[in-house]
Amino acid sequence: MKKENVIEAHQLTKTFGDFTAVNAISFEVKKGEIFGFLGANGAGKTTAMKMLIGISKPSSGSAKVAGFDVYTQTESIKKNIGYMSQKFALYDDLTVNENITFFGGIYGLPRKKIKEKREQLVSELGLENISNKLVGSLPLGWKQKLSFSVSLLHEPKIVFLDEPTGGVDPITRRQFWEMIYKAADQGTTIFVTTHYMDEAEYCDRVSIMVEGKIEALDTPKKLKEQFNVDSMNDVFLKLARNIE
């Protein structure tokens, strides 16, 4: 079954003065896919992602996200995507309920819908007893799960996750990935950056960025065959060494 592309990037480039942070990357992401966007720190992952979510203008190349152009239609892109950054980004001094209401509100959801979503979300995460507590008092794992759910609140076509599991314990990471699978099953496309190589194994396809370029792009299984190794970790190390 041929699925439609929800992200298409062609020769996408970003330069800061003399420095080329993202060097002519091209790739497609299909609907409902979990796309892993890997790379060492400073490889250009975050910069590439910022261009796709419409908060940074590309220097050259072209890209379409959810069918909209990253140069001219950033407003439409923003309505159709969810985003969760590596910094935990809910308001600590607002309660669980208030955070959900606020983020529902800035995406323009009607009040009734927000209420519905809030109740559903709180019961799914098992937060009934603490939905009126300040978010700041929750453990990090819960915050992260809540943050992910909030980014899905307006039912976006694509969710961009920037290192979502930094600093959480393995059990929570596991639960987090279950949530990701569930969202993908419902047709949401997941674009996730990470540097946990075991997480890369969970993705449908992964791309590996080294020094601004995409050096490898395929399913984890094929990549392991191609590099003749047992784990994504080794794939990554081999790639990084070759470049050096």
Binding site: I53, G54, I55, S56, K57, E75, K78, K79, I81, Y83, S85, Q86, K87, F88, A89, L90, Y91, D92, D93, L94, E98, T101, F102, F103, G105, I106, Y107, G108, L134
Partner: protein, 368 residues
């Protein structure tokens, strides 16, 4: 619009749940106005003085009584010998000593001339100056009452009249200044901190990725502070009217409009600072050093601009607070209308537009 209301609601949650900002917003204005009104003042009241009376006659007694009857001075000590003057000062309580020469009455009648020495503690020159002036005027008063009916040739009696603040109450001078500082502090510092806070927490990124436009985010952050600053300005004016009996001569409406204008100027500055500063601490430091210090030192609030050296006078022109102080002093104390302050008002509007333009430009560069 509904998005916007939700945003503002959230902003108020931030403010009301943070004790520190609540204190800056509401504790500080009241504390400052009371401090400046009651404690920090140029007036003298109940100053302790000592008297060394070498003649002890009817005239000196009359003068001493007159001085101690005034509310400005309390006679704490009678000194017997010159040598004790020093000790009296060193104890620190006495701020001035009156030293009557020997045979005071006799000299006055015989030679038409007698001498009182006024010795003041000039470790605080301003107070020393005021004390001397007050005592002088009491003495002059006494002299005039004595000379009634006696015609003298060629006598020049200067009649001074202080207008707009006849009692020279220093609180009248401080209220406009304090109001300026507080509006500046609340508007510029608090907004710059609250915007940089979102940057630090990473929530700014989330907001920029949302369908909210950048300018909506900024306006949403600013509106609550406009509202709170207006309340603050009203509280300050009410306090000064009811507690310090400061008359507001001019139109309260004009005063309100000018205050809103200045609040917007400060907010624009706050936004500008937040585009430069990456952390809350940096925003606070820039606000304090870059805004508070010039406001306190160069706006004419404490030190008169006309007696500053020329370069500082020129610098004072670019300080928005200077113009606002001129405007509100004129409205509050002189009771003038817009016809007299339109020039200053235009300057403030110009500065505001400039700051807003500059921050929009800076903001765009950041987004590129």
């Amino acid at each position: 619009m509904k998005r916007f209301i939700g945003f503002i609601k959230k902003e108020f949650y931030h403010i009301f749940r943070d004790r520190r900002s609540l204190f800056i917003l509401f504790g500080m204005p009241i504390a400052q106005i009371l401090l400046f009104g009651f404690a920090i003042t140029n007036e003298i009241n109940n100053v302790d003085i000592a008297v060394l009376d070498h003649s002890k006659d009817a005239t000196t007694e009359e003068i001493i009584n007159k001085i101690s009857a005034s509310k400005y001075f309390t006679i704490k000590q009678m000194i017997a010998r010159e040598a004790d003057i020093e000790t009296a000062f060193k104890k620190g309580k006495i701020k001035a000593v009156l030293n009557f020469e020997k045979d005071f009455s006799k000299n006055l009648i015989k030679e038409q001339k007698a001498t009182i020495q006024i010795i003041t503690d000039a470790t605080d020159p301003n107070t020393a100056n005021s004390i001397t002036n007050y005592i002088n005027s009491i003495l002059q008063n006494y002299q005039q009452s004595k000379n009634k009916g006696i015609v003298m040739e060629y006598q020049i009696v200067p009649q001074t009249r202080m207008v707009y603040n006849p009692e020279l109450k220093s609180v009248f001078m401080f209220v406009p200044g304090v109001m300026t500082i507080i509006l500046m502090l609340v508007s510029a510092m608090m907004t710059s901190i609250s915007i940089t806070r979102e940057k630090e927490l990473g929530t700014m990124e989330i907001l920029l990725v949302s369908p909210l436009k950048p300018f909506q985010v900024i306006i949403g952050k600013v509106v609550p502070y406009i509202f709170l600053s207006v309340i603050n300005a009203a509280v300050i004016v009410l306090l000064s009217i009811f507690i310090f009996k400061m008359p507001v001569q001019g139109s309260l409406f004009l005063l309100g409009l000018e205050s809103v204008l200045f609040i917007i100027t400060s907010l624009a500055l706050g936004i500008l600072i937040s585009t430069i500063a990456e952390t809350q601490q940096a925003a606070m430091m820039i606000s304090l050093m870059g805004l508070m210090l010039p406001v306190i030192l160069l706006s004419g609030f404490i030190f008169p601009i006309s007696s500053m050296p020329a370069p500082l006078q020129i610098i004072s022109h670019i300080i928005p607070a200077k113009w606002f102080i001129i405007i509100i002093k004129a409205i509050m104390l002189k009771g003038v209308g817009l016809a007299f302050v339109w020039k200053e008002t235009l300057i403030l509007i110009g500065m505001t537009l400039f700051f807003i333009g500059l921050s929009i430009k800076k903001y765009k560069i950041r987004l590129e």
